[in-house]
Symmetry: C3
Subunit: 262 residues, 3 copies
């Protein structure tokens, strides 16, 4: 059974997500639809890009990933269909696929513009229903990608803040905060280990100092602030049985620094 | 594969929705269940009626729509099963199907009262689990609608506030607010265009004046209040990359008026 | 089609739930996955235990229930797979299965420790993805439970506060609050009826006095506080078309007493 994943900022209060699924099932009744998340902050293309990067590869080969965070709906921003070695991606051309396509490079990019596969009339405000879902439905039935439009070469990219190394200091920041209030940094496990090696370090965030990497969320006293490597393979700041977000009053972009101690 | 849609005010924190799906799958394991929404405001039959009207027709023919916003559960309000040309609807008889059945007229209405198809004992507080879901499950297996109860002629209707025209003014109001804070009015695109024709107009909501219809959410400066036709084919008030609900302190029933300018 | 249920505290904002489903479908594409809830309060094993108890038996025979509220992830707490007469349960060994296994006794308990069925590398923070989901996926394909680890005899139990009877008084407390603000007590219908028999009683919660059991949520004037037996077969405090939680400022552990009137 073919799988389609959905990632949007539509929320779960309106009928938007249900209607998209209805449109897909009307075209292909034997598809499995999996929600990655619909609670992306409205119009936050970065957040969606981050979650897609950390989700796509867990899905069955051939999965069609729809990522619809689309502040430009109804304007002349393109709609794209990207084929990679293992997956298909359908999205507005606004960079939401950026981080993913760094890991899984495009074999073909199609600019979706064949109205044969759209719902009519196409609204100016809900291409998720009128364009993206029907295209995903037909693609899941085996329609060739070249039927949906013409190949193009370039798509829009967005860039995440990269960590910086200056002498004996590594500067990063919080780029994602999860449901538990855990603070995900832009410092990967590899970057951290490559920088620190076997040297002593202190990690500073807000007014907290941490000087070791914990091995689990409970590797600490209660309410202690800890650092550990999370399931995204990133450095994460956490508090045992508490919310680091609230305790540290941290938010997206809150800086973090790691300093080598001599 | 037969499709069943769910629309409730049960929320997603309790086990109510999961248990309804379990009951359905126990009776018919090969059905697709799609959530329209479970975040209807508690007991808000109007809101559910609005979302059902704007969702049902996107589903595959033969879909069984369950709409359970049911403040009268456990009283003598009826449970009904409505067959239309393309769909089945199962709901408490409280008007939640009103707007939908104006578009898709009933061919047969059954008062559900055959306990053979209920879970036992039937609770006084959760007919979603004990009556509506098992009936949907058996219906999806092809049981005739006449097995569930006797045909009746009349069901309860609720009425939405209609827009009013007085000379050169069109008066409407906000009837739905979406996840993005967009304000959906009770003025359809057709009503608006029929009233305004090619004349100049100003639209007033709260202290804002708008004098044109935008073609997309980005057809404006940032933070500007705009009017456009949305995917419900209604007149909608929106703010680019912001929440019109918050900016205008608007709510359900907030008035809006369109005045022809001479 | 085999059914897998999910009950977690992961919330629906991150990609955690979607990724677990992806992992399962990659192993067994023809499984039905049903969400019981993902909005368990972070780390609240009691709440999850309560909802699982009131959900599991509505699912088709053979369903694999995953209950992942796991503050001890990454420590040496065990991962367990329990086979009962009708179901399978997969969970961290922290008591989350306690209430359920009082009703549906274990036929076999396996300590999951065979890495052959894990995703690699196993993270220290997300065994839902790396251990529990793949084990559920393989189990749903018919792999014998003995392949996942060795049988053990004892698992961790947690205990819910039991109601107490002292002479002519029955003392209980609120143990769950639902989406509507209804207050679920730890007093079962049987306990209540066995205690009260046909005698007159008054029920006291906060500053409210109730002296009868209502038959439905609407068996009262609007905004009146009532007591009734809910779909969990427990005594519940409710307010017609309102939130008892808010009106009474009640919370988990708020006491309730029933006093026989002479």
């Amino acid at each position: 059974m073919r799988c389609i994943s959905l990632l949007t900022d539509f929320g779960l209060s309106d009928n938007f997500v249900g209607v998209m699924k209805a449109v897909i099932l009307k075209i292909n009744p034997s598809v499995s639809i999996i929600d990655i998340s619909h609670n992306i902050e409205p119009q936050n293309v970065f957040q969606a890009s981050f979650l897609l990067k950390h989700s796509f590869k867990y899905f069955p080969k051939g999965t069609i990933h729809l990522a619809i965070v689309d502040p430009g709906v109804g304007t002349d921003r393109k709609a794209i269909l990207v084929k990679t070695r293992n997956y298909f991606f359908i999205a507005p051309d606004n960079g939401v696929l950026s981080l993913t396509l760094e890991e899984e490079s495009p074999q073909e990019i199609i600019q979706i513009d064949n109205p044969k596969y759209f719902l009519k009339p196409v609204s100016h405000t809900f291409h998720g229903r009128d364009i993206f879902s029907p295209v995903a439905g037909y693609l899941s039935r085996g329609i060739s990608i070249y039927n949906f439009g013409k190949p193009i070469k370039k798509i829009k990219k967005i860039h995440f803040p990269k960590p910086e190394i200056k002498k004996d200091k590594l500067y990063g920041q919080i780029i994602y905060i999860d449901n538990f209030g855990n603070l995900v940094t832009n410092i990967s496990k590899d970057t951290f280990l490559g920088f620190v090696r076997k040297r002593k370090f202190v990690l500073r965030i807000r007014n907290k100092i941490i000087n070791r990497i914990s091995t689990s969320y409970q590797d600490s006293d209660k309410k202690e602030t800890i650092a550990l490597f999370n399931s995204f393979d990133s450095l994460e700041i956490s508090i045992r049985e508490g919310s680091a977000k609230e305790a540290l009053k941290a938010e997206i972009s809150t800086p973090i620094e790691i300093i080598i101690v001599k």
